[in-house]
């Protein structure tokens, strides 16, 4: 009996494996996207053959100490600047890749898994890590410029604007740091960990948290202006359009709030019936929403009513979609890549190496 219990229990208790949710990114005509767990490739969007160039990992690629590269998973959406793609991996390394498939330009190890994406600005790569630090590296060579230690893991992508780095940490705080030195300017403490990437709108910093609140903070002082509470966590990066902030929640709903005071703009939030982790995206005049189970919706910006949807990709979608004109690229977990237009028509891209 005990043995049976053990067998059943262990069958049900496999270790949760990281799968990753790196979103696609575009550099001119080159689309860089995840093609599998811990794998990145580039595809020319003008080339109808769908032939991809593998970027990472390449065969027998090694760390500087000679150990084999095993990224485990990639949650970090690559950032492309000047022919180099920057991203962090679950193995804790920040990689700078050549986009022609010739390998790694430089790589540097942080002290923990990397979940958030990098931000590259003025020759500096900013990235948070599970080691609780925000790291600033030189974009050319990967030399460390400075580090800022928060009280817990940093899973969110930082935001850099006007010489200030804003970063949310799982220690429940949002920090504003001097971009040049990493010195803290202010911090605001929420009621739970923060994993959402902040956005800035006219001096207001908007950030969602695991306390189910989306908050508006004064970007200069860090004082709270308002907050709105949903039924579950906010893990998406909010989208600001004019005076409205749109944010999806893990409660499955999408909220439209007034940037100035947080009052709901729609009569009721739009319910997708499954968690929303992917950021909302504007496709022409349609708000594209993707929930965790891969159901897509096109919403009317004014009233939050579905113009179309659900369109079912039948794949787990946690990555932020990417807009390209009136079309969006969506990366599903496992490496499938889709395009969807503003009318909800989608296509799965057939990629070949």
């Amino acid at each position: 009996m005990a043995l049976a219990t053990l067998f059943v229990a262990t069958a049900c208790t496999r270790i949760a494996e990281p799968k990753g949710w790196a979103g696609p990114t575009l550099a001119d005509d080159l689309l860089v996207a995840s093609i599998g767990r811990g794998e990145l490739a580039a595809v020319d969007i003008e080339d109808s053959s769908g032939r991809v160039t593998r970027l990472f990992p390449l065969k027998d690629q090694k760390h500087p100490d000679g150990s084999k590269i095993d990224p485990e998973a990639i949650y970090s959406t690559p950032v492309v600047t000047d022919g180099t793609g920057y991203f962090g991996a679950y193995d804790g390394w920040l990689y700078a890749l050549y986009l022609d498939g010739s390998g790694i330009r430089w790589q540097v190890e942080t002290g923990g898994s990397i979940i958030g994406s990098a931000v590259v600005q003025d020759g500096v790569v900013y990235i948070g890590s599970d080691d609780g630090k925000l790291h600033a590296f030189d974009a050319e060579a990967g030399d460390l410029r400075w580090q800022f230690k928060s009280g817990d893991s940093i899973w969110a992508t930082p935001l850099v604007a006007d010489g200030v780095v804003y970063v949310a940490s799982m220690d429940k705080k949002v920090y504003a740091l001097d971009a040049a030195s990493g010195q803290e300017k202010w911090h605001f403490k929420a009621k739970a960990g923060l994993a959402s990437t902040p956005v800035l709108a006219d001096g207001t910093l908007l950030v969602g948290g695991l306390d189910s609140r989306i908050r508006a903070l004064d970007a200069v002082s860090g004082e709270e202006r308002w907050y709105f509470k949903a039924d579950d966590w906010f893990w998406t990066q909010p989208l600001v359009l004019g005076n409205t902030v749109y944010a999806g929640s893990l409660d499955g709903k999408v909220y439209a709030l007034d940037v100035n005071d947080g009052t709901p703009k729609w009569e009721k939030p739009f319910d997708t019936e499954e968690s929303v982790r992917a950021a909302p995206l504007l496709l022409d005049d349609v708000l594209l929403i993707a929930n965790r189970t891969g159901k897509l919706f096109g919403l009317d910006l004014e009233n939050g009513q579905a113009i179309w949807g659900p369109t079912d990709l039948a794949k787990t979608v946690l990555a932020d979609p990417l807009a390209q004109g009136a079309m969006a690229y969506i990366s599903a977990q496992g490496g499938d890549l889709f395009t969807v237009n503003k009318d909800g028509e989608y296509k799965r891209l057939t990629l070949t190496e």
Partner: protein, 301 residues
């Protein structure tokens, strides 16, 4: 599955998170306290299981006699069941409490998997399980490091695997009823090593949070056995020694109990009711009195 999660997994998950807050975010300590609470909650069942198991073991010599006496399997079965009835012992008595605890164990395993998963996907999954109470939400993310372990990852240092092995062995050794039947002895002997080895192996495969649960659950089980054992002292020296190291005659008395051979033989149930000293526990004595009065009624007729 929805009902299963609603009734078992989610309440346990939330209870773990609440305990985590109470112990200031030390999730490993929360697991230990939770394990103790769960074992205390299921203690009446565990005690019943221990007593049933001990009662069965005391009846073994008589059962063997019956098996030898009756060659026809059907008759043998009937006589055995009749004997159990007369003795007031339910042969499934040690199985039922285990069955009742079964869903709790599985739910706890699931809850631990959800809470100590550690990956971003599992944290999203956790959000779906937690009640929307501010007190619970503030616990996220849970602290996965405990002593030398990452509770979301297997402990490769072998320390936890060894603790699980040793604690399973001791518990198994205490809980296995003594027997004089060579076949049963052989099975017990195999299980005595097999179970700890398997648990130790699984500890190396699953998140160490589960290993902490197993180890703690075993330790509490040993303590419970100690208190359920009764006034006679447990001979720890013989418990900790492998059974092969002890003389065969001492195997049955390793816990300070007389071996079945040393006990007074059980009377034939068809003619006589079972002697009182073979039936531990007041409940069984009560049933025996019932049996005796029935016998008297027979006499009166």
């Amino acid at each position: 599955m929805f009902l299963w999660d609603l009734v078992f997994v989610n309440p346990i998950t939330n209870a773990l998170v609440i305990l985590n807050n109470i112990v200031l975010g030390y999730f490993g300590v929360a697991i230990i306290i939770f394990t103790i609470l769960m074992r205390l909650l299921t203690m009446p069942l565990t005690l019943r299981q221990i007593r049933s198991s001990r009662a069965l073991s005391t009846l073994q010599p008589k059962i063997q006699e019956l098996q030898k006496k009756y060659k026809d399997p059907k008759r043998r079965q009937e006589e055995t069941m009749k004997f159990y009835r007369e003795a007031g012992v339910n042969p499934l008595g040690c199985l039922l409490p285990m069955l009742v605890q079964f869903p709790i164990w599985i739910a706890l395993y699931n809850a631990l998997r959800i809470t100590v998963g550690g990956t971003p996907e599992s944290v999203i999954g956790l959000s779906q399980r937690l009640y929307p109470w501010g007190y619970i939400e503030q616990a996220v993310p849970l602290e996965n490091s405990f002593l030398w372990m990452d509770l979301g990852q297997p402990d490769t240092s072998l320390i936890l695997a060894f603790i699980v092995f040793a604690s399973t062995y001791v518990q198994q050794r205490l809980a296995t009823p003594p027997t004089t039947d060579p076949r049963t002895q052989s099975t017990n002997q195999m299980m005595l090593w097999m179970m700890p080895l398997m648990f130790a192996f699984f500890t190396l495969q699953v998140p160490s949070g589960l290993g902490v649960y197993w180890a703690m659950s075993n330790i509490v089980g040993v303590v419970m056995y100690y208190f359920a054992h009764g006034p006679e002292p447990i001979n720890w020296r013989t418990v900790l020694l492998p059974p092969s190291a002890a003389p065969a005659g001492k195997q049955a008395s390793r816990r300070g109990e007389p071996s079945p051979k040393e006990k007074e033989p059980v009377e034939e149930p068809a003619e006589e009711p079972v002697e009182a000293d073979l039936l531990p526990g007041s409940k069984r004595k009560k049933r025996l009195r019932h049996g005796r009065s029935r016998g008297k009624r027979k006499d009166r007729r």
